[in-house]
Symmetry: C2
Subunit: 302 residues, 2 copies
Amino acid sequence: MGVSGINGQSFATEPETALGQDFTSLVIQSMGPNTDPRLRHVISSFIQHIHDFARDVRLTTDEWMLGVQMINRAGQMSSDKRNEGQLMCDVIGLESLVDAITYEEAVKAHRPLTASAILGPFWRSDTPTRPNGSTITFDTATDAVVAYMYGEVTSADTGLPLANAVVDVWQCSTNGLYEQQDPAQREHNLRGKFVTDSNGKYSFYCIRPTPYPVPDDGPAGHLLSLMDRHAYRPAHIHLIVEAAKHKPVTTQIFDAESKYLDDDSVFAVKEALKVNFVPRQGDPEAKFELQYNVSLAVDPKA
Amino acid sequence: MGVSGINGQSFATEPETALGQDFTSLVIQSMGPNTDPRLRHVISSFIQHIHDFARDVRLTTDEWMLGVQMINRAGQMSSDKRNEGQLMCDVIGLESLVDAITYEEAVKAHRPLTASAILGPFWRSDTPTRPNGSTITFDTATDAVVAYMYGEVTSADTGLPLANAVVDVWQCSTNGLYEQQDPAQREHNLRGKFVTDSNGKYSFYCIRPTPYPVPDDGPAGHLLSLMDRHAYRPAHIHLIVEAAKHKPVTTQIFDAESKYLDDDSVFAVKEALKVNFVPRQGDPEAKFELQYNVSLAVDPKA
């Protein structure tokens, strides 16, 4: 240890052992016998990687404390309308990564299914169900372009249509704000749930989505600024699709003509999720239309 | 990509590339040219390790969201009296690790100096200065044992005593609570600053410290519980020692006879920081005494 152990003369004359793998192993092995096995595996790996990170960059106390302050600030900014901890993960690609892992596990077990994407922080659990063919845009911005979206929900295992599937959709207005962020929009503007008919079909009017920046007034925005990155996301619509006896899918679809497809601030774009809006004929209500079909995997547990 | 690109038929028939190193490199390389070089190094390594962690354990969306909720809850519990983000780092050994790294960097540059330890969340910036030979224990618990602590502050480079050095000390009561956590203790009980005399000497009365658990009502306590670990820390006294033209040291000294020296819940114990309380003769005010001398490195920038 290189320590001269005279009481009152506590000098350490060489580096402490805290720096090495021995210390990391000690922390990991301090877990007791009653830890859940999966949790032990996850926490052990987390401790190993966080310690390796600190050693790799020779992280200083001051730098670590800046990170702690960002974490505390993220929690303090979070509410039922905002999840800043999630957003911090999003800007370093973590939510997209765990989504891809979760999706890959689903693919392993089943036939191909609709590609998934991150939930994001603006979904609401109390979105109203609306009739097919109705609209989700009530406070339509003057620069918004209305579009008609429709499609079919099928079972990936049989290819047959699924009646009574629920298509839960949400999008922001052209100012980049979801209704819960924007006092000028009525509650539940630009969101709705649609139940497929006996042929598995759904349809509604919405707006053609536009790019917008994620909120940049918190630590996630600070992190983006430190990384010299912009906060913009490409134009997209959020979806959750659920049907009885099938696994639900959470996804985002991206306008293939949008800016920022190659540098989404939260790294959620996949080729499989790009969609093409096409001009709509003979409908004074909408300039564009989008067909989007969804295929759900059977849930073996249901 | 394995994607059948028919619009409205967005199937991904094999895993997305988000899972691999290519995705992690994309996230890291998204940083712009104006990122500070040190920060680029630190953030790049952090992203690499966090992504590697997620891949290594095949982290699922649900597991990740549990982590996000713990981070948000940590921030929400934090205040000027409590730093839960810091405590979460402490129970996985991270503060001790960055302290050891910071200390090792100091050792590289200078002669041996007093071993450091973590600050912990209970230091206060407005602690009053008290005269040498006075006490920091005012609301002394009935089960507390008073001790006399004294010593000398010297310069590590010359060995000469340092006059006007400041010894900032804090400890909790026998109920495990620091004064800001405990309405039964007056403000600044069991804390004080002492200025060394012309011979570099300081002295005060305190209590012999006792083990106590870190607060376990937040996510750090939840994490300890998940890891099947106890929350106790061995008996210790916190110190910050500062002198002009020298680098300050933040440390903790541990009663060599305490429980939990081998399984401190925040991994702060070092051999060099164990001290021996000895019986004190001829002083009705104190049953034990502790000599603790401190050696400070010259600050080359001062």
